[in-house]
């Protein structure tokens, strides 16, 4: 017995309404495998890998719930990012103001959107202004026991190339004469985020291996 998969589309558009759809019924293995093999290369251009979506992943030897707690506090960015510093609360609940030392005299605004059950931590950020947070870093902490059969955490982190990276829609909020816009650095995001993820790994593993709480006292206190 099969489910009525795609029945609505077939009814709407006829027998082959979506060209290029690869499903085993219409593209048996002999047809699909050659296509897949052609897609396997020895190396991939940077732009193919990091052009539109920038994903970095890492195993971190520290319990996933503790790592999630730490990341869910926006002030953890003060520790593990390369250049965001000086987090202070704003008048708006949950919205933090900090400086991104990558830019000259540049403010960065951050709000976390989290889900404890799936351990997702999304950092909604923007340079210069806090009204439209469009730089969104999507992170998820996965229990390594499930996916790697060993204790610890796997962190998945994806950033999408929002059109504002290519064109600052709020030029009036930028400090005068700032030479670079955050989106100019897009091609550094792959290595840059990996570097930061390694910071996160080093910090969290140090605390876990040395019996320190992953979320430090100063962060818990307030």
């Amino acid at each position: 017995m099969t489910l009525p998969a795609l029945e609505d589309i077939t009814a709407h558009g006829g027998a082959d309404p979506i060209p290029g759809l690869m499903r085993v019924e219409t593209s048996p293995k002999e047809k699909a495998t050659p296509i897949l093999l052609e897609m396997i290369h020895a190396v991939y251009p940077h732009d193919d890998v990091f052009g539109e979506f920038c994903t970095v992943n890492q195993f971190i030897d520290c319990p996933p719930d503790e790592l999630y707690e730490y990341l869910a506090d926006a002030r953890s960015l003060e520790e593990w990012t390369y250049s965001t510093r000086g987090f202070t609360p704003t008048e708006e609940d949950g919205l933090w103001r900090a400086y991104d030392l990558l830019g000259d005299d540049t403010e960065i605004y951050t709000r976390t959107v989290v889900n404890r059950e799936s351990r997702t931590v999304d950092y909604h950020c923007a340079w210069d202004q806090g009204r439209h947070l469009w730089m969104i870093y999507l992170m998820r902490v996965v229990d390594a026991q499930l996916v790697l059969n060993k204790p610890g955490s796997v962190v998945l982190w994806t950033n999408c190339r929002h059109p504002f990276y290519d064109d600052n829609p709020f030029p009036e909020t930028a400090p005068p004469q700032r030479p670079a816009w955050v989106g100019d650095l897009w091609d550094m995001f792959g290595p840059g985020h990996l570097l930061e993820l390694k910071n996160l790994k080093a910090i969290a593993e140090y605390r876990h291996h040395n019996g320190l709480p992953v979320t430090p006292d100063w962060m818990r206190a307030s």
């Binding site: 293995k29 002999e30 495998t33 050659p34 093999l37 052609e38 396997i40 290369h41 020895a42 190396v43």
Partner: protein, 344 residues
């Protein structure tokens, strides 16, 4: 040039090749094509042509014919100087012994060293260069003749049951010899050989019904492939060959993209493409003869090299990289030569 310090330099002075007369078009296979599920697999997409050795044409015959082209240029006296004879074929004329003894007899020579090299597979030419270097530089003589032959296309892959398989349309036959001497006229700059013994057992022969290769039975033997193995071998080739080339490039101080010529084994077009991309080399500087000769196993490297010499793609002083990998990925090698234009 003496790239390895005080160690004497060896040179690849010349190569000579032989392709059997029987030039078989891809259509020859379509008349037999069965319903092999691997038919459309890019690992087995057929070349336009390949050459088939005659059913009774041995490795020794083919090597002898390649040597004839060499002596035509260098005079028959060159054979009298051979101190070391190395031979290789992936399908020996008889499993019990290699071609070396009979080749020496046919050529009327009696060198101090005769070694049948049975490993190295499609990269055997590189391994044999290294072996020749070791022997020559340690006092075994002044001249080595290295000979590779491949004749399975006209034999194994022409069989009634096997020619229906996708894999049958890819191999091509041929032979090649290289003249290596203790000199700096056309120096071998450096060689990298890497073994991956854990992959050796992935090279298998199969028959339907199943039997050991030496047992008799109704099923004709062919290479054991399945989808999973194909992907693994592709991934190993993708990785191993560029790594071996890079190791040599690093040591001789040449960027991979600056190589004047790359010649490799040529299992299929996919790997040729992937190696170009991985090394940042324009395809025209990676010379292949896949369309005309198919997968010639160990013979491809010298045949492709000769093709570039013949039409003047490379000249004296150019840096040539020879590279390849073997079997299911149990060996990979790369050798850099500064071609001396020593073909007379």
């Amino acid at each position: 040039m003496n790239p390895v310090g005080t160690q004497p330099t060896i040179s690849l002075i010349d190569v000579a090749t032989y392709l059997p007369e029987n030039r078989v078009p891809a259509e020859w296979y379509t008349q037999y094509s069965g319903d092999d599920s691997l038919r459309d697999n890019p690992m087995f997409r057929p070349p336009d042509f390949r050459h088939h050795a005659a059913i009774d044409e041995s490795n020794v015959d083919m090597i002898e014919r390649a040597v004839a082209a060499l002596t035509e240029r260098h005079g028959s006296g060159v054979l009298g100087e051979v101190d070391i004879l190395l031979t290789h074929s992936q399908l020996p004329d008889l499993p019990i012994l290699g071609a070396g003894g009979e080749v020496a007899a046919r050529l009327g020579i009696n060198p101090e060293w005769i070694v049948d090299v049975h490993n190295g597979g499609c990269a055997a030419f590189v391994l044999m260069l290294k072996l020749a270097r070791q022997l020559l530089t340690s006092g075994a003589g002044r001249t080595a003749l290295i000979a590779v032959a491949q004749n399975s296309a006209g034999k194994i892959f022409e069989q009634e049951q096997v020619r229906k398989l996708a894999q049958a349309s890819v191999p091509g036959d041929g032979a090649a010899v290289g003249l290596v001497t203790l000199s700096d006229a056309s120096p071998v700059l450096d060689i990298e050989c890497r073994y991956f013994g854990k992959h050796a057992a992935d090279m298998t022969l199969a028959a339907d019904p199943a039997r050991r290769w030496w047992e008799s039975g109704s099923g004709q033997g062919y290479v054991g492939f399945n989808e999973g193995k194909i992907i693994k071998v592709l991934a190993r080739g993708n990785r191993q060959v560029p790594q071996a080339v890079r190791a040599v490039c690093d040591r001789i101080g040449v960027k991979t993209g600056d190589l004047d010529l790359l010649v490799t084994n040529q299992p299929n077009r996919l790997l040729l493409r992937n190696w170009d991309e991985a090394l940042g080399l324009p395809p025209e500087r990676h010379r292949d003869t896949f369309h005309e000769c198919g997968n010639m196993f160990a013979v491809a490297i010298p045949v492709n090299f000769e093709a570039a010499v013949l039409d003047g793609q490379i000249g004296a002083g150019d840096i040539v990289m020879m590279a390849g990998f073997a079997h299911a990925g149990d060996f990979a090698g790369a050798a850099a030569i500064q071609w001396g234009g020593t073909r007379t």
